[in-house]
């Protein structure tokens, strides 16, 4: 008699967000570093915001304004800017142009303009070219490495006198009543036991009149703030996991390529992308919704299998994989936006707020633009000496009145349709939405948080990587540049009673091999973690750890 298939509900095994650690009602340390405006996260949103604010302050001072010296800080958990940044990426230059009106597109750190573009529907053996959907047309946009963009923005910011603190993760929000008054960093040099070890550096407090959370996807403090302030959204935020590789190839690629279909199961949302950073340097990735249906669904492995398809194999086979990484993407869109993205002394920008438009696969220009709006709101608040929620409300108003929200609203149901239908029906609905500007079908489609999607406990088809075209997770993590010391205490909060099938879910969910099932037991290797945050979405909670841990991306 075949056993009834076991089901796993990720949510039932997830530890709650440790609010008591993330939101502190404490007086900042007497040695606290005072900032006026602190951006938490040195990605496109935080850096664009810091630069925009520095420009506003400079212009004001030159015009004889009364602001004087405004200390702007950017806090980044990676050891150097860009090392934790990963994106496709095809970039809409609109925000870059707005931030640097004095520069031309050729001055920006882009690799090249999008030449041709092609979309294919894949089967196990064939690739059928299909018309490029209007949402995926990228003419006039630029291929770029987000690492390079971030490093470039960092230099601009430093040049403008912004304080950039790399290697300092924000571990907690410091609060006073309902007001956010700064952050406390994570300590470093803890031994595995959690006690101070050699090279211990204690946490540092940073106070700020305004704290801007620009943590990127699945920001821990952003989540904590929303939960603490009980700020809701129509739908829960949902995520996809993207696994990406950079290949040096002998054969050139001249256009942007997207594929749909195989190797994804029909009930998974996602697709692949392939962008030439230069003709022989190719960014290749696979993005899959974390609402997939089986414990054995494994995005890293899907990407590995995908490369065996002649369509990819012909291009890659003679080349070499030089870099690997992964990151989640907030895909909930319009209905998943928090009702309020500001509060007393606080704003939330970029991916942390969910400003990603999944149908066009874009987020960088929304992130930058939201950071720039936050800069404007911060500047106005400093000018009127009122950094309360009432004053910072201006930020939400600017976002709501901008292309950020109108773009997301136009494609508001596109991703959600996939959660409630299978691929083909959803494709049809998506097509309808495109022609009707998002109006059909009907109103808001309700969605479930990824952790509330039940998974069937299944066993995977065995897959043995060859180490040339396909890679194990261990090899992959190596290519992420991850050199986290291996005696670091675990930053992952594993729930109680992890059954073997839950361990299976975690092992397949994590692209970096942090989780392994060893017999009946879950084995956790926290040093492997590359901060993609998938674990925080459907597995053990991710919390901030020692600065400089995690990947060291170069051109992701």
């Amino acid at each position: 008699m075949p056993e009834r298939t076991k089901k796993v509900l990720p949510n039932a095994h997830q530890a709650p967000l440790p609010l008591d650690r993330l939101i502190l009602q404490e007086t900042p340390d007497a040695e606290a570093v005072p900032m006026d405006v602190l951006f938490v996260g040195g990605g496109p949103a935080g850096l664009a915001g810091a630069i925009a604010l520095a420009k506003l302050v400079k212009a004001d001072n030159e015009a004889g304004g009364d602001l004087g010296d405004v200390q702007i800080g950017v806090l980044e958990k990676a050891g150097a800017l860009g090392e934790h940044s990963l994106s496709g990426a095809v970039v809409n230059p609109i925000a870059m142009r707005a931030l640097f009106p004095e520069l031309k597109d050729k001055d920006f750190p882009f690799r090249g303009s999008v030449g041709g573009e092609r979309v294919y529907f894949m089967t196990g053996s064939r690739a059928v070219r299909i018309p490029t959907p209007p949402t995926m047309q990228n003419h006039g946009y630029h291929i770029a490495s987000i690492c390079e963009i971030v490093r470039w923005l960092g230099e601009k910011a430093e040049g403008m006198g912004v304080n950039i603190f790399t290697g300092f993760p924000a571990a907690s929000l410091l609060t006073e009543g309902q007001r956010v008054i700064g952050i406390r960093t994570a300590p470093s040099g803890l031994a595995r036991s959690g006690d101070p070890g050699s090279g211990y550096a204690p946490p540092t407090d940073i106070t700020a009149q305004i704290t801007v959370l620009a943590e990127g996807t699945r920001g821990t403090l952003s989540q904590a703030y929303l939960e603490w302030q009980k700020i809701s959204s129509d739908n829960p935020q949902i995520f996809a996991l993207g696994v990406k590789e950079i290949w040096e190839t002998l054969k050139p690629l001249d256009s942007v390529v997207h594929t749909l279909g195989w190797p994804l199961p029909k009930d998974c949302f996602g697709g692949s992308f392939m962008y030439p950073l230069s003709p022989n340097l190719i960014a290749l990735g696979l993005v899959v919704g974390l609402d997939y249906k089986r414990t054995s669904d494994d995005v890293h492995e899907m990407l590995q299998r995908m490369k065996l398809h002649p369509f990819f194999k012909d291009l890659l086979e003679s080349g070499e994989m030089v870099e690997w990484g992964a990151k989640t993407i907030p895909e909930g869109g319009y209905y998943a936006l928090p009702k309020r993205r500001h509060g007393d002394g606080l704003m939330i920008v970029g991916d942390s707020a969910g400003f990603v438009e999944v149908a066009s696969l874009k987020g960088i220009h929304y992130a930058m633009q939201s950071g720039m709006f936050a800069a404007r709101a911060a500047f106005d608040a400093l000018k009127r000496k009122d950094t309360s929620a009432v004053s910072l409300k201006e930020y939400d108003a600017m976002v709501d009145g901008s292309f950020i929200v109108s773009d997301l609203r136009r494609r508001r149901n596109m991703r959600l349709a996939f959660q409630e239908s299978n691929f083909y029906v959803a494709g049809l609905k998506a097509g309808l939405m495109t022609v009707t500007g998002g109006a059909l079908p009907g109103g808001r489609i309700e969605s479930h948080a990824d952790a509330d999607v039940e998974r069937e406990a299944t066993q995977p088809d065995p897959f043995v990587p060859d180490g040339k075209l396909t890679f194990s997770k261990l090899d992959a993590v190596f290519k992420s540049g991850n050199a986290t010391r291996d005696d670091i205490p675990s930053h992952l909060l594993v729930g109680p009673d992890i059954a073997p099938e839950v361990a299976d879910l975690y092992a397949h969910m994590c692209p970096a091999g942090v989780y392994e099932r060893d017999g009946e037991r879950l084995v956790v290797s926290p040093a492997n973690c590359i901060d993609c945050k998938a674990t925080d979405v459907i597995g053990p909670r991710w919390t901030p750890r020692e600065g400089g841990s995690g990947p060291k991306y170069r051109q992701m």
């Binding site: 043995v464 180490g467 194990s472 261990l474 090899d475 993590v477 190596f478 991850n482 050199a483 010391r485 291996d486 005696d487 040093a527 492997n528």
Partner: protein, 329 residues
Amino acid sequence: MANVFAFVESRGTDVRKVGLEAVTAARMLADKSGGGEVHALVIGPPGIAAKAAQIGQYGADVVVVVEHAALTNYSPDVATATAVERIKSGGYRAAVFSTSAQGRDLSPRVAARLGVSVVTDVLSFEIDGDSIVVRHPMNIGKVIATIAIAGKPAVIAMRPNVIAPAQNAKAGRVENAQPAIDPASARVKVIETKVGGGGKLDLAEAPVVIAGGRGLKAAENFKLVEDLASAFGNAAVGATRAVTDDGWRPHSDQIGQTGRLVSPELYIAVGISGAVQHLAGMRTSKTIVAVNKDKDAPIFKVADYGIVGDVFEVIPALTEAVREAKKHH
């Protein structure tokens, strides 16, 4: 036709292998430039003079011996002054040193005093018209540079183990000489040379590294690894983080991203699965051998040669075979 100078490194009254390599390299250079003489300098305590004949065997036409009771330990000031004095008076085309801890210290000082550049870690050399052209690894061996040396004499320091000492008997005329400065006047004084634990080689410098992992199952089984190392004779013993964490080996033996970085000629991984952090510490080794019972262990991905099998069976057999091979070497 031009003469070449060689500095013969010694420790106590022993000539080191790298010293004979320098003589061999100098001989090759002299021969390539039309057959000049090789003049070798050796400095040490009383007893070092007895090694002159050996140095002649390896191709020195003249062996300059500086024997002094105060020179049991290396004296950078005396060695620099004495080498400089000899090189200046000899009109050499080139001066050859070793890229050992001592040679790294000495060769740049000598070059600076001669007013010329130096290339350390030289892999090979040739004569191209008026220049001596050498190959030198840059970027921790990930790039190889071909460098033309304009200065005269060309000062080079050979990387250990790239040129095997070759017997090529020459006259080896002994010239006894005095230190160029009184050793008592030296500013920098080596007051002691401690030979580490029974001649144990340092991990970072050993040409062969044998490393053990959890697959050895217990601290006492590291005996297998030590036996294999002693069969090689020129091997150091390392370990993985898991092993040092468990206290089977001292932390100073740990190879990996968070431990020592090694890049030997031969690296043998015994019962090591190949965690990322470990691979980061050894993957630049020239030849990697892995023995592990799990055929899917990641270590096999980086290994040049792998044996799938029980370390308790394979390693003793390998130790025996290495001993046998060394005997006939």
